[in-house]
């Protein structure tokens, strides 16, 4: 099961966080800082899976942005690793070359996309056009 998805930049600022199991606000900040430190300190040739307390972190770096997914033992690491990439490709498709700014300024939409892909800590949809369907509908309404 997926416990959380984080997007953080190299400065350690959280750009997106989604928890699939309630975590108190006070603990979130500490957890995010800790997780970021853990991933930032790793070199390119180190593996993308880190054991962290009772779960595993699967992370992937895109330019200055890190996407970190916390998963339980029962999750397939490589499939999560590629899920992250699929997510980024969806963002790329929607924002045409996504950047950190897109994510900051369109937080609601990024959330919609993520919620289409992962619900409740489980993968529900991996098909790009179906993931984007609700957003496309909204944008059409706004244009029209």
């Amino acid at each position: 099961m997926i416990k959380f998805v984080l997007m953080v930049n190299r400065q350690g600022q959280t750009r997106l966080s989604r928890y699939y199991q309630p975590v108190e606000l006070s603990r979130r900040a500490a957890l995010e800082a800790d997780v970021v430190r853990c991933c930032l300190s790793r070199k390119k040739d180190q593996c993308s899976f880190v054991e962290y307390k009772e779960f595993k972190l699967v992370y992937r770096q895109y330019a200055a942005l890190y996407i970190v997914v916390g998963v339980t033992d029962s999750e397939n690491e490589l499939s999560i690793y590629e899920l992250v990439h699929n997510f980024v490709e969806v963002l790329d498709k929607y924002f045409s070359r996504v950047s950190e700014l897109d994510i900051m300024f369109n937080l609601d939409r990024v959330h919609i996309i993520l919620d289409e892909m992962i619900q409740n800590g489980h993968i529900v949809e991996t098909n790009k056009s179906r993931i984007l369907a609700p957003l496309t509908a909204i944008d059409k309404m706004a244009d029209g």
């Binding site: 606000l25 040739d45 490589l78 897109d102 300024f105 609601d108 993968i123």
Partner: protein, 962 residues
């Protein structure tokens, strides 16, 4: 400012975000945020009603602020208002805010539920999805109550849109996890399984998560999912890369779905149906074959997706552990990955190979990769990969490669990360002992371990090496020589001094012939370390010194000098002072004969650990010992030494007390009757089984020791008790009523009551067949010495039990004195023509005659101290056989018959009980203490009774109960 906001961008929001980005300092940012919060608050409180757009904008700002790590304590109401908007974006922000910020016990839930109800009945699929999503995210009890019956209907309804089905599946999963009692199985369950056949892949993907969870909880009810999953998997695996269109990811058809299907199959054993199994094996072979094909794309995404499926398939193969061919192929595939340039693959390959090593089919295949794995341990640049390599080496270790692996692990230990050293030390120690043929190698290894990583060597490890040296006379001389050499190092670890002190104190004479290690040289060497050591080590050294006086009379004067000096005899530490005083006195007044008896060489330690290791090997194959097993061993080591501070040191002390039988023997678990002093250090077989040596010497004791297990049925008995008789008996230790035995013919129920030393037991014999039992007779007997301990009277029963009927028998029981055996119940009857004959143990156990005793904390501990003779105490450390639920534990302890005392033990986790056992002849006071360790899933049980045989018996009985 970049105008990056998309769609119906909210300008105010964009400006705010830009402002935050432009803040130069944290203070400036906080200032800006506070300004914004004040602004939003005033807007929300203002007289002017806000339109949907503004509300959405402000709620969105709050979300952003929350994300920056600031608590948001208002705006919830506005978010709830947004839920009833008809505009999707407004509704969506409302729901997002709620699912991110509202916890399950909020008071707003009722309002939110109302909005959800409206959206669920709206028949607008996007609104329904948002509502389902929200239930799934919040998942509160109240929501479950409101919607648990509704969701399954939506999920399986024929006219539900695909996207709604997806959300409904995940929503139901959440409700099932948080409130399983509210999600009732029903007609929908079978239809849920058939979602695996849904033509829409997204629906299948979502449904599998739900089905996996349901199957784990109710495997039988969902068994049909296996064949459906196999056929779905087979269709995906055999499809061309373009067939599945949008579900194909970098030429790999539906990788995530495939992984989830393979994961679902891991909830079940291999399919029984031959056709299904054949199809599945075919799938797994195809997946393995594909790994060998040239890649369809050079992109890493392609190979990752392909390998994700491959690893999941290998997990399934390992889970089944029944197809040697597939296991070996899996192993070869992983072997290739071990040298792959992708670190991720190397990591995962090491990880799954570790589980593969435990299968008897692939253990040998795994071993062929030893060089690669050793190389990984040496060269990997990532500590987590090295850790996996170390784990794998441990798992693949067996007698053939133990020396090599232990050597590599030792050399790795010199540079290993601090975080994993202790675990490594334990692993090396376990491997060294487990696979030692040549014990000088074992001694070398452990001493090296102490030299390299002394700080990480836990007490268990050095206790263990001493026990082994004491028990094996062929290695004692070597050990003395080696430890003497090791102590030559100018700085050696304190653990080395402990081992050195102990071993030289016992076996220094074996090397004293060499002038380079003459008695005085040995003593001076040890004493040169003395002042740098902690108190416990110094205490141990003092014991070593007094042993020296016995071994080498020529050192007497020197040592007495040392003992007499103020820093010993007036040491501020009581323990040290006492030892110095006593040893000095002992050495001055005792004759050499007395001295020789008192300070005799330590008797061998009873060997009990090996039994656990043997069990472990049998269970899991020689290679696999996971971390939990390690814990076992660690614990077991502790138990061997009677736990905590009763190491060999205590035993050395005890020896100086001279009186037979040595109390240390009891601490270490030998029962009182075993002739400790008499047990000579006989040949090497001691390590294998000390008890079998002691057995013939003290047969009566041996029978007592083993309790039920070894009691040979007396000759007058018509049949030996059933093999499961002990288990049946154990079920009744903490309860008085229930079904004692049942087979296809006969059911035997029991009701019993006890008062003081008397009991009455009602036995109900039920004929489960339609044919009468003829010549039905029962006999109750008390074998052996039980005859004089327990008086059981029974009335004969009627000779015929009609089909379907039940007859009753009453037994009167009187406890004369304490006892360990159980009375036997023999039942004979004719069913059809055949004579049936079975013997059971009647669940009459000593604890049945308990009277609970309430007492206050002071009283308890006062009595506890009064019962301090070693043989009055029995202790056992054991792994929890059942869950460690507090209420269940309490119920069991109460069922035991003692009083469960609250607020007595300083540690509230512990349980203490008190009671008096009433026998005809005497009363036996008993105190019990049970210390659970939830983390390790272990218990320590201690019993102190005024009669030692009772302590032992209760301890045996109870250890089976928790």
């Amino acid at each position: 400012m970049p105008a990056v906001s998309k769609g119906d961008g909210m300008r105010g929001l964009a400006v705010f975000i830009s402002d935050i980005r432009n803040c130069k300092s944290k203070e400036a940012e906080i200032k800006r945020i506070n300004k914004e919060l004040a602004n939003i608050r005033s807007k929300f409180k203002g007289d002017k009603a806000l339109d949907g757009y503004s509300k959405k904008k402000y709620v969105c700002k709050l979300l952003f602020i929350f994300l920056l790590g600031h608590d948001i304590d208002f705006g919830h109401m506005e978010a709830v208002n947004l839920l009833s908007s008809n505009k999707y974006t407004e509704k969506q922000i409302g729901y997002l805010f709620i699912s991110v910020l509202v916890n399950s016990n909020s008071e707003l839930i009722r309002l939110i539920n109302n909005a959800i109800k409206n959206d669920l009945s709206s028949r607008n699929p996007t609104f329904m999805c948002l509502a389902l999503h929200c239930i799934a995210n919040v998942g509160s009890r109240e929501m479950a109550e409101a919607f648990a019956s509704e969701i399954p209907r939506i999920l399986v309804a024929g006219d539900t849109m695909d996207s709604v089905k997806q959300s409904a599946a995940l929503c139901l999963l959440r409700l099932y996890k948080t409130s399983p009692d509210l999600v009732l199985m029903g007609e929908w369950t079978s239809r849920v399984v058939h979602l695996l056949n849904d033509q829409h892949m997204g629906v299948v993907t979502a449904a599998i998560s739900l089905i996996t969870c349901l199957s784990q909880k109710n495997p039988d009810e969902f068994k049909t999912c296996v064949s459906l999953a196999v056929s779905r998997l087979s269709r995906i695996v055999s499809s061309a890369s373009t067939d599945l269109q949008d579900y194909t990811y970098y030429f790999v058809p539906a990788p995530w779905l495939s992984c989830k299907l393979l994961r679902l199959l891991q909830c079940y054993p291999p399919p029984e149906d031959g056709a299904v199994k054949g199809r599945l094996v075919e799938c797994l072979e195809t997946i393995l074959n594909k790994a060998q094909e040239p890649p369809k794309s050079k992109k890493v995404q392609h190979s990752n997706a392909k390998n994700a499926i491959l690893f999941e398939a290998i997990s399934l193969i390992i889970h089944y552990d029944s197809e040697p061919n597939l296991l070996v192929r899996a192993c070869n595939q992983l072997g290739q990955f071990l040298q792959h340039r992708e670190t991720n693959l190397r990591y995962l390959a090491l990880e799954s190979m570790c589980t593969l090593a435990s299968s008897e089919f692939s253990h040998e295949a795994v071993k062929t990769h030893i060089e690669t794995v050793i190389n990984a341990l040496k060269t990997e640049r990532d500590v987590s990969v090295r850790q996996r390599a170390a784990d794998l080496l441990y798992a693949m270790c067996d007698r053939s490669n133990a020396k090599q692996i232990v050597a590599e692990m030792l050399s790795y230990l010199e540079t290993a990360d601090y975080s994993i050293r202790e675990e490594m030390v334990l692993k090396v120690a376990i491997l060294a002992e487990k696979y030692a043929i040549d014990y000088s190698w074992y001694v070398d290894t452990i001493l090296n371990l102490i030299r390299i990583a002394g700080d990480y060597v836990s007490e268990e490890v050095w206790y263990r090496v001493i026990q082994i040296v004491i028990n094996r006379d062929d290695v004692q001389g070597y050990a003395a020589k080696t430890v003497f050499e090791a102590l030559q190092a100018p700085a050696c670890h304190e653990n080395m001094v402990k081992v050195g002190g102990y071993i030289l104190g016992e076996f220094g004479n074996l090397i004293a012939g060499d002038p380079r290690s003459s008695p005085l040289v040995q003593f001076n060497l040890l004493h040169s370390k003395f002042h740098l050591c902690s108190v416990p080590t110094r205490a141990l050294l003092l014991s070593a010194y007094i042993k020296f006086i016995n071994l080498f009379p020529e050192t007497k004067a020197t040592i007495q000098e040392v003992l007499r000096c103020d820093s010993q005899i007036r040491n501020s530490d009581v323990e040290l002072q006492q030892r110095a005083v006593e040893y000095l006195k002992l050495s001055s007044i005792a004759s050499t004969d007395v001295l020789a008896t008192v300070l005799e060489e330590m008797p061998p330690f009873p060997e009990r650990e090996s039994s656990i290791l043997a069990k472990l090997k049998k269970k899991k194959g020689p290679g696999a010992v996971s971390v939990t097993d390690l814990e076992d061993n660690k614990r077991e080591g502790g138990e061997l030494n009677g736990g905590g501070d009763r190491g060999p040191d205590t035993s050395a002390m005890a020896a100086s007390n001279a009186s037979t039988p040595s109390p240390s023997a009891d601490l270490l678990g030998i029962r009182s009757a075993a002739p400790i002093g008499a047990a000579p250090t006989s040949a090497g077989s001691l390590l294998v089984d000390v008890f079998s040596e002691a057995g013939p010497a003290a047969p009566s004791a041996a029978v007592n020791d083993d309790g039920f297990l070894s009691s040979a049925p007396p000759s007058e008995d018509p049949a030996a008790p059933l093999s499961e008789a002990d288990d049946l008996l154990n079920k009744f230790v903490c309860k008085n009523n229930g079904v004692l035995f049942e087979n296809q013919l006969l059911q035997i129920g029991i009701k019993s009551e006890y008062r003081q030393n008397l009991g009455r037991m009602y036995l109900f014999y039920g004929n489960k067949t339609s044919v009468p039992f003829a010549s039905f007779s029962t006999t109750v007997s008390c074998p052996g010495e039980l005859q004089s301990q327990l008086n059981v009277q029974s009335k004969p029963v009627e000779p015929v039990v009609e089909g379907g009927a039940q007859i009753q028998q009453v037994l009167n029981i009187e406890c004369l004195t304490d006892f360990s055996e159980a009375p036997l119940l023999n039942i004979k009857f004719r069913y059809g023509g055949a004579l049936q004959n079975l013997t059971l143990k009647l669940p009459v156990t000593i604890n049945k005659f308990f009277q609970p005793t309430e007492m206050a904390s002071n009283d308890f501990f006062q009595r506890w101290k009064q019962l301090s003779q070693p043989q009055q105490e029995a202790q056992k450390i054991f792994k929890a056989n059942h869950g460690m639920d507090t209420e269940v534990l309490k119920a069991k302890l109460l069922g035991l018959g003692m009083a469960l005392l609250d607020n007595v033990d300083p540690n509230p986790e512990n349980y203490v009980c008190a009671g008096v056992i009433q026998t005809k002849g005497q009363q036996v006071g008993c105190l019990l203490r049970l210390e659970p360790n939830a983390q390790a899933q272990m218990y320590r049980l201690t019993l102190r009774c005024s009669k030692d045989s009772v302590s032992r018996r209760l301890c045996e009985l109870l250890a089976e109960q928790f």
